[in-house]
Amino acid sequence: MTDTNTVTSSEQEIRSEVRTWLEQNWDPDSTLLAWRNKLIDSGWGVPAWPKDWHGRGLTIGLGDAVDDELRQAGAVSVAKTGVRMLAAATILEHGTDMHKEKFLRQLLTGEDTWCQLFSEPGSGSDLAGLTTRADFDGENWIFNGQKVWTTSAHHAQYGMLLARSNWDVPKHQGMTYFLIDMEQPGVEVRPLRQMNGHASFNEIFFTDAKVAPEFMVNKEGVGWKVAMTTLAHERRLADGIRSWGRGDKGNGRVYEEQKAEIATVMEPYKWYPQRAGRVDLLIERAKATGKFDDPTVRQAIGKVLIMAKAAEWTGRRVKAAHALGRPPGAEGSLGKLAGSQVARLAAQAHTLIAGADAMLTNDDGAMDGLISEILISVPAESIAGGTDEIQRNIISERGLGMPKEPRTDVDRPFRDVPRNTVG
């Protein structure tokens, strides 16, 4: 097998070109903004983007090689993760030149933060059932309604807003996608406190909020299609958060400024490792508490280990097959479902290990409250980013080819579809 590492000559050339450019330009003592503007001007910031828009039109693979060179040189990159990259991908694919001109650079420098305004209290899994109104008053689009689960909204300048502009057509055809200025009187942002005490998300209330017609994306009524572009990049974002959260190491002004930026962006995600169950702590904790001698505890740990390792190996099988150019099987969609189960089993095992301490939290709790944070964060794992039930639908329909459940909501005007009275 088969971790073949073919280095193409063009990759070598590009790597050496980047290295040379970095030797001449990388300056850890510059400001973050000045450095990023320079990087954007060079095209090495987002090399896989089109040449006209700050990139070099390279393949994703070569783009990764460029990123790798930046990392090796310890050079700070553009602000390329966070929800802003979902906005960037959407604007690049569906936006006008004016949108690209106005938004892309400030997005890459990190000056602008974005948020995604999709989910609503009345439409979670059924995103296409959203009811935030978009009405055109002859001059502007006017918005009324409520969004929820919005990360970063409290410090975002702009939002990607999906709203209903036509109630007389089937649900998927009546939505339109807008780029909205969050800093206006009609937009109210409130933090949403979760069961684990953190407030990582916000609720957004629109009361006659306004967007000028030129900030509509694509056309009226094709919002669903545009939103699919945004969502397609969401999984990649989740991967990016993991690697980006560490930041670059070094001394200099640019590092300090990046550290501050990461701290702000990562703040909502700081409990995410606990949400996934902290499998890494199980054996160490069991030994430290003496519970390792209890065969029922070992059974609980064994169940977690099996699920976690098998899921990890499944991921590697998928990657290895992909690297060989073999067609992807349905096993690619299994990771999220496996993750939920790992998290639940891990929480169960942590409970057995903690014993009575599982009743305590914060500095009275095990590991200064870290264990209790696991116990009360795990329920998010099987909901966020698509519930387990939605994953099972995807796996059974797209992966296993099973028939769809008959639907009553898609073939009639949205106005006539029964819906929640809330929100």
Binding site: I283, Q299, I306, A311, W313, R317, S396, G399
Partner: protein, 386 residues
């Protein structure tokens, strides 16, 4: 570490699958499971002579095909999928592996070629009537024969076995028995050795047990001073047998994956055929979600079995732990898949006529054979190096 199969391995799998599809339709399974021998001699001859399967992981210098453990696991997965009735697991996965791992050079040269050619049916007897799978649990004893300083080498290797082995796969038909026994007066893993003796030799009484899974024949074998030859070193099995059993556990995990996959496919087929309440039952989320979960579990167990097979082939340090991981995972998965397959079939799934019970029974016997999931989960955690 290998995370995909090579093109050659994929091709080999297809060849084996075609053979199994052809030779092991359920009509054959149903016919053979009612016989005492439990296999078709003509099919055995073919899979030996045309495909060389009994010698798949036996090195070429001992008459085998010289492939590795991964290829053995591919064969077993396909056999498990087709529920092939043949004395393959006993001869190749158990006995040949034991001889490869424990035998001297001379013994390998003497014993392996006939197993590789399919002429000798062999098996490994290591569990007593207690059904304890722990390596050190056996109470069958081996007394040296003619044990004086003048004895020739062959005499020094001569022993007499006394005691009873049970749950011996294909033990009633095996021409050659590999038996774990202990030096009298010893306990635990110390004092354990492996011995070989002909299945129909003196002092041996064999009884075919009534097995819940009629496609896996089990025997009880009584040894009453049965003459046997030491395999490898005296008191050496405490070191070799654990590894042999780890390899066997991975082999069984592979076989189970094949069966579990078959249960998933059978569930999907039926769910897209059976109408109730005016629609295919496969359009109900109650059924779809069951199938999605089955698929998840089968793929996870498959990854574990493949990883363990690669770990065996590459002799990685984590092998003992992942061997137990793969066995526990595969056993639970196969059992669950067979159960759900019956559930999805509804009443018809509980009938003798429907084939699901054949797999259900194989899943049940595989669940406990070589140690149940609780045992292997515990082994996994105790062996885990964090």
């Amino acid at each position: 570490m290998q995370f995909t199969f090579s093109d050659e391995q994929e091709e080999f799998r297809l060849i084996v699958r075609r053979f199994m599809d052809d030779k092991s339709p359920t009509t054959e399974i149903r016919k053979l499971m009612d016989t005492d021998d439990g296999y078709d001699k003509a099919v055995w001859k073919q899979l030996s002579e045309e495909l060389g399967l009994p010698g798949i992981h036996i090195p070429e210098e001992y008459g085998g095909q010289g492939f590795g453990f991964i290829e053995l696991c591919i064969v077993l997965e396909e056999m498990g999928r087709a529920l092939l009735c043949a004395p393959y697991f006993s001869a190749t996965a158990l006995a040949a592996t034991a001889i490869i791992e424990a035998g001297t050079e001379e013994q390998k040269l003497a014993l392996l070629p006939d197993i590789a050619s399919g002429q000798t049916l062999a098996t490994l007897a290591f569990t007593d009537t207690t059904g304890n799978w722990e390596v050190g649990s056996t109470e069958v004893t081996a007394e040296p024969v003619g044990n004086d300083s003048q004895a020739s080498d062959s005499q020094a290797n001569s022993f007499q076995l006394k005691g009873t082995k049970s749950f011996v796969v294909d033990g009633h038909i095996a021409d050659l028995l590999v038996v774990a026994a202990r030096t009298p007066g010893t306990t635990g893993a110390y004092g354990l050795s492996l011995f070989t003796l002909p299945g129909s030799g003196n002092g041996i009484k064999r009884r075919l047990l009534k097995s819940l899974d009629p496609t896996r024949k089990l025997a009880c074998i009584e040894f009453d001073n049965a003459p046997a030859t030491l395999l490898g070193e005296l008191n050496g099995a405490g070191a070799t047998l654990p590894h042999i059993l780890n390899l066997a556990a991975v082999a069984l995990a592979s076989e189970s994956i094949g069966g579990a996959q078959k249960m998933l496919e059978s569930s999907l087929d039926y769910a897209q055929l059976r109408m109730q309440f005016g629609r295919l039952i496969g359009s109900f989320q109650a059924i779809k979600h069951k199938c999605a979960d089955m698929f998840l579990e089968v793929e996870l167990a498959r990854s574990a079995a493949y990883y363990a097979a690669a770990a065996a082939a590459e002799q990685t340090a984590d092998f003992p732990a992942v061997a137990s991981l793969s066995k526990a995972c595969a056993s639970d998965t196969y059992m669950k898949a067979a159960q759900e397959c019956i559930q999805i079939h509804g009443g018809i799934g509980f009938t003798w006529e429907n084939d699901t019970h054949l797999y259900f029974k194989r899943a049940k016997s595989s669940e406990v054979f070589l140690g149940d999931p609780n045992y292997h989960r515990d082994q996994l955690v105790l062996r885990w190096e964090n």
